[in-house]
Amino acid sequence: MCTTCGCGSSEVRIDAKTAEVPAAHERAAVTQPKYHHYRPGGHWHRHADGTWHSHVHGGASPHGDAAPGPLDSAHAAGMASARTIRIEEDILAKNDAIAVQNRRFFADRGVFALNLVSSPGSGKTTLLVRTIEAWSARTPVAVIEGDQQTARDAERVRAVGVPAVQINTAKGCHLDAQMVAHALTHLEIADDSVLFIENVGNLVCPAAFDLGEAHKVVILSVTEGEDKPLKYPDMFHAADLLLVNKIDLAPHVDFDVATAIAYARRVRPGLEAIVVSARTGAGFGEWLAWLERGVAAAKEQREGNIEALRRRIVELEGELARRSERA
């Protein structure tokens, strides 16, 4: 059983084959995807919203420092010495470390990676398919799909000409960073491309799991009720964009768009929101413009990194020349 969320991760399948990794969230034997050059770093004190916690104990310390207790030096015959060992590790540290690796993988290649989250039936896949068609190969696109069972969503994406990998979690209720890292080994990811990760339909659990994405995009359809952001605050709090979908059905339901967005902004101030219809294409101008901005930012970051490397090479060459002269 998976040790982070209790799913039967030994049954996790990627494109219908049992994933070769050990229980998906285990830290010890992470299979390094073939594009990865990095190892997990030390421990992480990062919280779900990216803030750091200044804890009461004060001062950083390497983990596992043994603070000797008063009994340590006693060693009376037959008496065990009690001591306190500092840990200060996030319970989700394993996942977060792999997410950071994924994020670096994307940054190196200028990939704009999005984590699409919502309840089941909000229209994620339909929205994704229409987005891919409207995008018209402006950049390469790849998709990672997550569902308990079936490869239906990956098949729908492949039908519009985009490579897709299907992760089946069996009993699991969310994707995690290890699953995504493994799925990436099944995809050819192009530079300056877009990667959509369609999470398992679930408005609760995916909120806690960083996959290494640039943004979580939460999709709420008008048939779901405008109070959902208040009832499921964690998910809306974790998102950077809200897509209100199925606006074409608005005349048939009691749903106040402004109220829904206001509620979402209570739990996530400044949340960007775009009203769309995956069926009619309403709002797609704005949605695609948002995507284009993200793609441009990812590309600029990659080019900036390359430029910085080039400057470094020039510096080092200069240094080498100086030292060679002196030698």
């Binding site: 059983m1 998976c2 040790t3 982070t4 969320c5 209790g6 799913c7 969230h25 830290r27 004190h45 919280h47 779900a48 919203d49 803030t51 916690h53 804890h55 104990h57 983990h63 596992g64 043994a66 065990a80 010495s81 009690a82 001591r83 306190t84 060992i85 500092r86 840990i87 200060e88 590790e89 996030d90 319970i91 989700l92 540290a93 394993k94 609760v204 659990c205 909120a207 806690a208 952001p229 208040l230 605050p233 964690d234 709090h237 509620y263 902004r265 209570r266 739990v267 101030p269």
Partner: protein, 113 residues
Amino acid sequence: MHEMALAQSVLEIVEATARRHAAQRVTAVRLEIGVLSHVAPEALEFCFGAVTRGSLAERARLEIETTPGAAWCVPCGETVALSTLGAPCPQCGSYQLAVSQGEAMRVIDIEVA
């Protein structure tokens, strides 16, 4: 969210640390669980007792420090208490809040014998 599985995650962290320090038994585990985090402390307590049976943390005392929620209120220009996500500033009623505390789920330290 998955308190049983989180308890197992805690046990894994605890066991790894104990092994690194060649400790035979864990007598106490101290956690920090923020009120704005993804877990209910009581459920975690229950599950912790269950998962540690047969491990070197069996019968270890579980201490949970509940960190209160706090956020920076933009209009007030100061840090205020936040009881849940979606609550307004208790001083001015604004929702322009940036959460600064209360989302952590951490293993702080362990006591070993």
